[in-house]
């Protein structure tokens, strides 16, 4: 017996194929293209959302935050600042009793430039990371129209 096995499926159209050949295509809604365009190009957002500048900005801000935080910590450690911070955290009455004196002492020991850099880089991290997660087209569906 050298007969080859029959192919598993015959591709010749059968009665089901012939019946479904009469299946009429449904017209897409006339406003479908307009709806798509209104949710994409007409929103004025770029076709290709460029994320890398925001990623670089976020990473740069994080690096600045880490460096500034380290410098602030090192400055506090070499001055009396760390002891003052420990004292304030250990005894809250110091802050409530003489808040002006405590703040003045902290301001004297803390390098204001580094503090501004730390706060600024923290704000930059929040801002650029916010952009990273929010920049994408949001579709408006029929229900949400």
């Amino acid at each position: 017996m050298n007969a080859r096995p029959a192919p598993p499926f015959d591709d010749a159209p059968d009665d089901v194929d012939r019946l479904f050949a009469r299946l009429e295509p449904v017209r897409a809604p006339a406003d479908l293209t307009a709806r798509v365009l209104a949710n994409t190009v007409a929103r004025g957002e770029p076709a290709t959302i460029v994320l890398w500048p925001w990623l670089v900005a976020t990473l740069g801000a994080l690096a600045a935050l880490v460096a500034a935080g380290y410098l602030v910590g090192a400055q506090l450690a070499t001055s009396e600042g760390l002891a003052l911070v420990e004292a304030v955290f250990g005894d809250a009455s110091l802050l409530t009793g003489a808040p002006g004196d405590v703040l003045a002492a902290i301001a004297q020991l803390m390098p204001s430039g580094l503090v501004v850099l730390t706060l600024g880089s923290a704000a930059l991290v929040v801002w650029s990371a916010g952009h990273l997660v929010s920049v994408r087209p949001r579709p408006r569906t029929r229900a949400g129209a």
Binding site: P8, R35, V36, A38, R136
Partner: protein, 219 residues
């Protein structure tokens, strides 16, 4: 309200210019921000995509929403698509996943006033569970079926009442007119598996059509 907002984009080409180019050229142009090229891509694929969705979901409003969401996703993924590959398998894959999400949501939707969730009839009502069919059903369909005035309704119903795994392959073949190699790429299986699934689906369709035809004949 959804409105067709006019497109005011710098250096925008006319639709006629973009429509005459090939798909990969349109894809490259759309990636550069050419609104007319993106519109031409949408027009190129929307009929087949919508027909696939409407046959799988059995309902045109949800199908239009799925088609719209698919094209919006295309827009946000333009930069990540390889223009050497055909766009259709990617689009159908996205639409298929979104359709399956809609069908899943319908299954968990609260029971409506007609006793079942909107859209696909429950298997019990339709008698459409796979077990209800004889997969070896090869008996020819009655000739008069093709002459029925409500043929389009019957065909649409027969597809929409199949289990989703079979409805999707039938919708791709009969409604979206895809080849088996394209179906295999969309379903992420090999071509042989796509053919097996389609032929099983056809056996179910045959039984379903006979059932629907007999059901409608009962006075």
């Amino acid at each position: 309200m959804i409105i067709a907002a006019p497109l005011h984009m710098p250096a925008m080409r006319t639709q006629a210019q973009s429509a005459g180019t090939t798909e990969d050229e349109q894809l490259r142009a759309a990636r550069r921000g050419d609104a007319a090229a993106f519109e031409a891509l949408v027009r190129r694929h929307q009929t087949a995509l919508f027909n696939f969705c409407v046959r799988l979901l059995g309902q045109s409003e949800d199908a239009a929403d799925v088609a719209q969401e698919t094209f919006v996703q295309l827009y946000s993924h333009l930069g990540r698509l390889d223009e050497r590959d055909s766009l259709a398998p990617w689009l159908f894959r996205v639409a298929r996943n979104r359709c399956l999400d809609v069908l899943r949501r319908r299954r968990t939707a609260p029971i409506g006033p007609f006793g079942r969730a909107r859209g696909r009839p429950s298997p019990d009502v339709a008698g459409a569970t796979p077990a209800a069919f004889d997969p070896a059903d090869e008996q020819p369909l009655p000739d008069e079926l093709a002459e029925r005035a409500d043929l389009q309704r019957l065909l649409g119903q027969a597809i929409a009442q199949l289990p989703p795994a079979y409805a999707e392959v039938v919708a791709l073949r009969y409604a979206a007119d895809r080849s088996f190699s394209e179906i295999a790429a969309i379903l992420e299986c090999d071509e042989g598996a796509a053919r097996v699934r389609f032929h099983r689906a056809k056996a179910l369709l045959r039984a379903r059509l006979r059932h629907l035809a007999e059901e409608d004949e009962v006075p």
